[in-house]
């Protein structure tokens, strides 16, 4: 039996020799979800990073763990990566909206029955995060981009735009606001409280 200094490992009663490797299962990775967080009340939701998860609810849990523990956070959204429409990248200081092919007006203002809400996110500068600028109503992601140009196209600079159907965003509940307020004294979570330099110096002198 495998023995370890960690009693938890001993309790697992693992065999000494590794078992014969089996073939890797195809598609054994979970899909990715993209996470947006709100750093303080009334601030725009901004992109913070991806998580792997089997479904949106679980992605939300993982997102909370990965992205809300170290910084203040007052809300979170997640969307499947596959649900995000991305424009090409424009140049710094310009607006990527000017590079987009214009759709005929009639397709941008299709009949009201097929209209859905879309959330629009702008990247102001390469290396920064996409931030939420607002919602538009449209009949397709392409039409949503045209509507976004009309609503937010005067902003400068816009290096890149993300369009997400609002129904594809799982949003934290306003009722659950207290979920984000954690106990104030969490210094033990921060690496800064592990001050070891003194002890390292002392150890070196003793050595």
């Amino acid at each position: 039996m495998l023995s370890s200094f960690d009693p938890r490992i001993n309790r697992l009663e693992l065999p000494d020799a590794p078992s014969i490797p089996t073939d890797k299962v195809a598609l054994d990775q979970f899909p990715t979800y993209e996470v947006f967080h709100q750093r303080k009340e009334n601030a725009a939701y901004a992109y913070v990073g991806p998580v792997h998860a089997p479904e949106a609810d679980v992605a939300f849990l993982f997102a909370k763990e990965q992205f809300s523990r170290r910084f203040p956070c007052t809300g979170m959204w997640v969307a499947p990566t596959s649900a995000i429409q991305v424009t090409p990248y424009g140049n710094d200081q310009e607006s990527v909206y000017n590079l987009l092919p214009l759709l005929p007006v009639e397709s941008a203002t299709a009949d009201a029955t097929g209209q859905q809400a879309y959330d629009i996110f702008h990247l102001k500068k390469r290396g920064k995060a996409h931030a939420h600028v607002g919602q538009v109503s449209a009949s397709s992601p392409e039409a949503a981009l045209q509507a976004a140009k009309a609503a937010f196209g005067d902003q400068r600079p816009v290096v890149n735009v993300w369009v997400i159907r609002s129904a594809d965003l799982l949003r934290s509940d306003d009722e659950d606001r207290d979920m984000w307020t954690t106990t104030p004294d969490k210094k033990y979570r921060e690496a800064i409280s592990y001050k070891v330099q003194d002890r390292i110096d002392r150890f070196k002198q003793e050595g």
Binding site: R8, V58, D176, D178, T183
Partner: protein, 249 residues
């Protein structure tokens, strides 16, 4: 025992022992993100126990570290549910589900406690517990509607764990005064709310909640009677402290 101390010891010991147990998944969880989530919640529980031991210290009890690390099993007031070994992940998830539903309702009620320092702590803790319950519900709903194997294992874990979970609500002699003084709504009322709350989630799955009246609660923990698993846990948890009580890092 004084009703406030009696209540606080039960609350604090539950958080410490289950926090320590759940921390045993650290590095061994089923997938990386879930490992992080479960370990993080275990750390929350240890943080909750520290806050509650601090309240006890303010009432004249020993320092939190002394209280946590120097008592033996018969001096602990945790329910036996919290001390059981982590087992397989199905058991650990079901324990987390059954325990944290009770904890959320408990601390929501304690936010209105007549003992103001406890009410203040409860208002802080209940937000974190809300997330712990969201986490538990998400997995119970997911696995409780997944494959045949998942449903069977979750059902078996549920049936094994329920008698221990009913032990959460074991009362002590201080119970009438705890209720009459407005410290807490009492275990009976808590159990009623808990049954409604867990039933509501289980109803959204293929899992069935047995008739709780047919089960015998595993009691004793609140009176210092524990399983053979608690003392080894305490020995392991306090190993460093007992080697060197001034150890610091």
């Amino acid at each position: 025992m004084n009703p406030t101390l009696d209540l606080l010891y039960r609350l604090a010991d539950d958080q410490l022992i289950l926090g320590h147990r759940n921390s045993e998944w650290n590095g061994l969880g089923p997938i990386l993100e879930e490992d992080i989530a479960f370990s993080s919640m275990a750390q929350d529980k240890l943080g909750h126990s520290l806050q509650l031991y601090t309240l006890l210290h303010e009432l004249g009890e020993a320092e939190p570290d002394t209280v946590a690390f120097t008592r033996n099993a018969p001096q602990f007031h945790c329910c036996q549910l919290t001390e059981l070994p982590i087992g397989e992940y199905d058991f650990s998830l079901i324990r987390h589900f059954l325990f944290d539903h009770a904890e959320l309702l408990r601390f929501e009620a304690l936010a209105d406690s007549s003992y103001e320092p406890l009410a203040l702590v409860a208002r802080k803790i209940k937000g974190e517990l809300k997330y712990h319950v969201l986490h538990a519900n998400t997995w119970v709903k997911r696995l409780g509607t997944a494959t045949e194997e998942a449903i069977e294992r979750m059902q078996a874990a549920l049936e094994f764990t329920l008698p221990y979970a009913l032990g959460i609500f074991e009362t002590t002699d201080a119970e009438p005064e705890i209720i009459s003084s407005g410290l807490f709504i009492g275990e009976k009322e808590l159990q009623t709310r808990w049954e409604a709350s867990v039933s509501k989630v289980l109803a959204q799955t293929a899992l069935t909640l047995p008739d709780l009246r047919t089960l015998t609660p595993v009691a004793g923990g609140r009176h210092g009677q524990h399983t053979e698993h608690l003392q080894p846990l305490l020995d392991e948890m306090a190993e460093v402290f007992r080697l060197d009580p001034t150890a610091d890092w």
